[in-house]
């Protein structure tokens, strides 16, 4: 995973208030920090949301990104997840153009990756796949040979791994 060295995951707990995402995004843009991906959703506590940011740490030292983020008044806490210490998942939706001859190949590919065909058209399929970033990357690459009409990825969400003893389990799904 070549990007592992360049990317770092920050799991940022923020107040669930209007404009907070703009504050976070604005900070990254004005300080010249690059965001690789970003996912936002409320947490189990309605006061707070969690923003999962995959940061390009070549654009700025990680510590500087964390310290500047921490200065935002609406940022409550920041968990720094190194890629090997986190369970990461992302969801992909793709619509693929398939002629009848290729249809079964694509469905088989989806099956191999553990994805799901969520919509079927006359000459198109919409496919969903959730998984770790590497798996999604591989799948996207293979799917590319069939003519992608539209493709959307959610950006990663992540949680810390429970123990170091279970890396293979964490990577399996």
């Amino acid at each position: 995973m070549a990007e592992g060295a360049r990317h770092h995951i920050l799991s940022v707990l923020v107040e669930n208030k209007a404009g907070v995402l703009a504050r976070v995004a604005g900070l990254f843009s004005r300080r010249g920090f690059n965001i690789f991906s970003l996912a936002v959703a409320p947490t189990d506590e309605a006061r707070f949301s969690r923003i999962t940011i995959v940061v390009d740490v070549e654009s700025a030292p990680l510590d500087q990104v964390v310290q500047q983020l921490d200065k935002l008044v609406n940022v409550v806490s920041i968990t720094n997840l190194a890629p090997h210490e986190a369970v990461e998942r992302e969801l992909l939706l793709a619509t693929v153009a398939v002629d009848p001859a290729e249809r079964s190949q694509v469905i088989e590919l989806v099956g191999v990756f553990g994805g799901e065909v969520v919509n079927v058209g006359a000459d198109r399929l919409t496919i969903m796949l959730a998984g770790g970033p590497d798996k999604i990357d591989d799948f996207e690459g293979l799917l590319g040979t069939y003519g992608i009409v539209e493709l959307q990825r959610t950006g990663r969400v992540a949680l810390p791994k429970l123990t170091r003893a279970q890396p293979s389990i964490a990577e399996a799904g």
Binding site: G19, A22, Q64, Q67, V73
Partner: protein, 596 residues
């Protein structure tokens, strides 16, 4: 008690202890101006909202209390964007209240609508759009808390007109816990392990320099810094924002470092083996080219903002904390580690080598360093060509002002050559007497900032040392000063040019002068001053300098403006060219021979 949002806002400001605010009314803020008529708060009606912002900054910088400004929506709010940016760069506590169009009209491009919380997001420490009158007291209390704690800075409260008009039940938050700031908890104490490591580094340093910045003033740490300096015998440089945090007349003070710092201050840092950065942030105007800045120095960096630690220069010991507290912790740690508790020399008595400020026998390791520093001071003092009978030298005007004004005079300045001469040639022996725009470099800062400073410290003489270019940007606020009887004094160093730009064009653009000439007498500064209700004086020769200043210092019932016609060819020296190493410092041409 039922109040309108507007009444609650004013009552909140009163409860917060606000004595004065600077502002200008308009449509969306109209409801808030009504209860001002009954308020204990003095409102100073400015002529332009930028003036209100800089006045609030000047007030804050000399009192240490947050400055308060109040403006209407749209252009009223955007006019105060420059002061907010300025205060953000210089960590000045400001609370700006802006009116906003009614809640229901937000997002419709209503008359005088502007998304000012969006505009100011990156130049405030935080801002709030108040959606309900019930939130007003809590928001005001939170705004003051955020502006004044941790690294201070500006905040903005945007209040829609319907929120000002709505009714609410008055309350006042009884503790910080009620302010709804779950993500805000600034550090104060330093990490004791790091403090002990810093003390160890200090004890073994041979060429130490204390690099003191504006954070020392903000933390009210000047007495602690003096004790630290005197106990260690270390030399101290004071940055542009830190001028006055350690007395210029103290024998251990080396003066200002940086692009226009004096030779000894700049070179001491370059040759240092230990920099003790206290409330300073390795600004590019101090470091020059970062890669070659102080190449042999280990760094102890103390700052209340953890994000400053390691931002520009890696520190061997980084301590996040309040400067005063950490300096006191350092003094204790040094004593515990064996530094003699007696104040060292540096208090004016000749030291071991007979030179003032050379540390006494208990710190013999520093003798060699002090001898080197004194040699540089002897060889490369600040210097300009004195030309009696010729054109008035701007440096001479600053020196004469300094010598003829009380020692605790507050000096404000704009940005450019005059600012550098003021910082170089004034003798800052008292904290909070230097009011200038450091980080943002805001031309036009001096006049309104001086007015705000005089409002905050009416007992002090307040001089603005301004340039002719800067003066033309905000001079209209002298109408405010005259109307409100705020007797500030303005010295215009009128060289008929945008002087600093001219200097760069002369030195780095082959004397190709592009759009820098302003004319010495368009406008006529004396007539302009008189038209604004001030006394206007003009000085055209060196002999007239002192009498004019004496005359101005005797006027205490209205503002005074002196138009000093100064030498247009004078340049600020020393100078480190932009982007160059500090080792490439350019001294005055007459001192060139002293460089090997």
């Amino acid at each position: 008690m039922r109040l309108t949002g507007a009444q609650a806002l004013i009552k909140s400001l009163e409860t917060q202890g606000v004595e004065v605010m600077f502002g200008l009314p308009g449509g969306a803020i109209l409801p808030v101006y009504d209860p001002i008529l009954e308020s204990s708060i003095r409102h100073i009606l400015v002529r332009h909202e930028q003036g209100a912002g800089h006045m609030a900054e000047g007030y804050a910088m000399v009192t240490g209390r947050p400055g308060v400004a109040i403006v209407t929506s749209g252009p009223g709010a955007t006019n105060i964007v420059t002061p907010l940016s300025n205060a953000y760069m210089d960590s000045t506590p400001l609370v700006v209240v802006s009116g906003q169009v009614p809640t229901g009209a937000i997002g419709t491009d209503a008359f005088q609508e502007c998304d000012i919380t969006g505009v100011t997001m990156g130049i405030t420490k935080h801002n709030w759009l108040v959606k309900s009158a019930d939130d007003i007291p809590r928001t005001v209390a939170a705004a003051f808390h955020v502006a004044t704690t941790g690294r201070p800075g500006p905040v903005l409260i945007d209040v829609p007109k319907d929120v000002s008009n709505a009714q609410m039940d008055w309350y006042w938050p009884s503790s910080i816990d009620e302010l709804d700031l779950p993500g805000y908890s600034p550090v104060r104490e330093g990490d004791p392990v790091a403090v002990r490591r810093a003390a160890q580094l200090m004890l073994s340093a041979e060429r130490p320099v204390i690099y003191a910045g504006g954070g020392v003033l903000k933390a009210r740490a000047t007495a602690a810094l003096r004790e630290l300096a005197e106990r260690t015998g270390f030399p101290v440089v004071t940055t542009l924002m830190g001028r006055g945090c350690f007395p210029d007349s103290h024998p251990q003070c080396l003066g200002m470092p940086g692009m226009h710092g004096n030779y000894t201050a700049v070179t001491s840092m370059q040759r240092s083996d230990l920099l003790i950065a206290l409330g300073s942030r390795f600004d590019d105007r101090v470091t020059g080219k970062v890669d070659s800045f102080a190449p042999h120095a280990k760094v102890i960096h103390v700052d209340i903002d953890p994000a400053e630690l390691g931002k520009v220069r890696r520190a061997e010991v980084a301590i996040a904390g309040d400067c005063r507290i950490v300096i006191e912790e350092l003094i204790e740690a040094l004593a515990a580690a064996g530094l003699d508790g007696r104040p060292a020399a540096g208090t004016g008595q000749p030291g071991a080598t007979g030179r003032p400020g050379t540390p006494a026998a208990d710190r013999p390791a520093l003798d060699e360093w002090w001898e080197q520093l004194r040699r540089w001071q002897d060889e490369f003092p600040l210097h300009y060509e004195r030309d009696e009978g010729g054109a008035v030298k701007p440096q001479m005007v600053v020196e004469t002002l300094r010598d003829l004004s009380p020692g605790d005079t507050i000096v404000a300045s704009g940005v450019g050559q005059h600012q550098m001469w003021a910082s170089q040639y004034w003798r800052f022996d008292h904290p909070d007497t230097w009011v200038n725009s450091g980080g943002a470099g805001t031309m036009g800062f001096a006049v309104p900032a001086a007015i705000g400073a005089k409002v905050g410290r009416p007992d002090r003489t307040v001089w603005a040392i301004d340039g002719d270019g800067c003066f033309q940007m905000t001079a209209q606020e002298l109408v405010t000063a005259a109307a409100e009887r705020i007797p500030v004094k303005i010295a215009i160093l009128n060289n008929a040019y945008l002087g600093m730009v001219r200097q760069w064009q002369e030195m780095f653009y082959a004397e190709r002068y592009s759009e820098v000439y302003l004319s010495p007498d368009l406008p006529d500064y004396v007539l302009w001053a008189e038209a604004m209700g001030c006394v206007g004086l003009r000085v055209e020769s060196s002999e007239e300098v002192a009498p004019a200043i004496d005359k101005a210092n005797q006027i205490d019932d209205r503002p005074v403006v002196i138009d000093f016609r100064t030498d247009a060819f004078e340049k600020v020296f020393p100078m480190v060219p932009a982007g160059a190493s500090n080792d490439a410092i350019v001294v005055h041409p007459e001192q060139d021979r002293n460089l090997r």
